[in-house]
């Protein structure tokens, strides 16, 4: 019976860990999205250095999470998000408002897509 109880405990532990992981990951993507939003607001108001600074801080924070993200997310998705962040930073550095805006929307979509991959829904499970 010990073996069976251990099996049930392991399953419960994994399920609980998975649910906790979803919350943690959503918190991370949520805070990254608000930092990106803040950078975009600065860009729209013409405060380009401030926008660059905010986005650079956001990129550094995202990079500091690589240990965690590489364990839980497909590496191809991480690479896509890295590219989107770099492209948005490039657009901010070039001071091109229309380019920055399109890169911003693309980055937010990419972030939402990664967050959605870890959410439980009929679509993601099936």
């Amino acid at each position: 019976m010990k073996k069976e109880i251990t099996a049930v405990c392991i399953l419960v532990f994994i399920l609980a860990g998975s649910l906790l992981n979803i919350r943690v990951f959503h918190r991370i993507t949520g805070s990254l999205a608000s930092e990106i939003d803040a950078a975009e607001l600065c860009a729209q108001s013409g405060s380009w250095p401030e926008a660059e600074e905010k986005l650079s801080a956001c990129i550094s924070r995202w990079n500091s999470l690589h240990g965690y993200t590489h364990i839980f997310i497909r590496h191809t998705e991480i690479d896509k998000l890295n590219d989107a962040l770099e492209e948005y930073l490039g657009a901010l550095l070039s001071r091109d408002i229309s380019s920055a805006e399109s890169r911003y929307f693309f980055l937010i979509k990419q972030l939402e897509s990664v967050a959605e991959m870890e959410s439980i829904s009929l679509g993601t499970v099936l």
Binding site: M1, K3, E4, A7, V8, I10, L11, I14, L15, G17, S18, L19, N21, I22, H70, I71, F72, I73, R74, H75, T76, M117, E118, I120, T124, V125, L126
Partner: protein
């Protein structure tokens, strides 16, 4: 991670049901749940090895979850007869009193050729001599002959037969198995005497050496020698 967990759970249930629907023919020597785990694990493990962009955790979670599910299913089959018959099926009688039950054969999708093959493997060539044949849940066939067709046993012949003691391996390819030597209650001195008796100087010269509790030995030296 949660998605992988749920997908593993869904796939396990689907594959288990599919294996049951496929019938006993497909199962072989494994129970359906064991077959499902064996099939899934071997494939899951290969993906992160081939594609390094897939996190290792994607394979580790199902590899941990599947045996846990298998243990739980096995426990449930032991606890509930209904669940056991759902997961493993029921044994099917396909020959009764020397007559093949066609309906059961069709239901189990066993052809006449397969049935006669399984019987021949049991040295049975005459279906009329079979009192009862059962297709077990693991796909194997159990055949019970009429008493008149069974080979005579020692008790039927009124002979007193004695069980032979089991031989214990003492030397395996030049290696001494000390635990087995102790189990037999022998020591190194006895072994040396036996080796000398058989023309060997050391354990390394012996390929295979056994002894039973009655003291009967079997000696096979390394290449070229003759068994004694």
């Amino acid at each position: 991670m949660a998605i992988i967990f749920l997908r593993t759970l869904i796939l396990f249930i689907c594959l288990l049901t599919a294996t049951r629907v496929m019938g006993k023919r497909q199962v072989g020597e494994l129970e359906p749940s064991e077959l499902v785990v064996a099939v899934l694990i071997s494939d899951i493990a290969a993906h992160p090895l081939q594609d390094i962009s897939i996190p290792m955790l994607n394979a580790l979670v199902p590899i941990i979850v599947l045996p846990c599910l298998e243990i739980i299913v096995t426990m449930l089959t032991l606890k509930s007869l209904r669940f056991r018959s759902f997961v493993c099926g029921k044994p099917t009688v396909i020959i009764e009193n020397g007559r093949i039950i066609e309906r059961e054969m069709r239901r189990s999708r066993v052809s006449l050729d397969e049935l006669t093959l399984a019987l021949r493997r049991k040295d049975i060539v005459d279906i009329g001599s079979v009192r009862c044949a059962v297709l077990e849940t693991d796909g194997s066939l159990t055949a019970l002959l009429y008493a008149s067709e069974k080979p005579p046993s020692a008790s039927l012949c009124g002979i007193t037969a004695q069980d032979k003691p089991l031989p214990v391996v003492l030397i395996n390819d030049g290696r001494l198995l000390s635990d087995n030597l102790r189990f037999l209650g022998k020591d190194g001195k006895w072994l040396q005497t036996e080796l000398r008796k058989n023309g060997a100087k050391s354990v390394s010269e012996v390929f295979y050496f056994t002894c039973d509790s009655g003291g009967k030995t079997y000696f096979l030296p390394k290449s070229g020698g003759r068994a004694r």
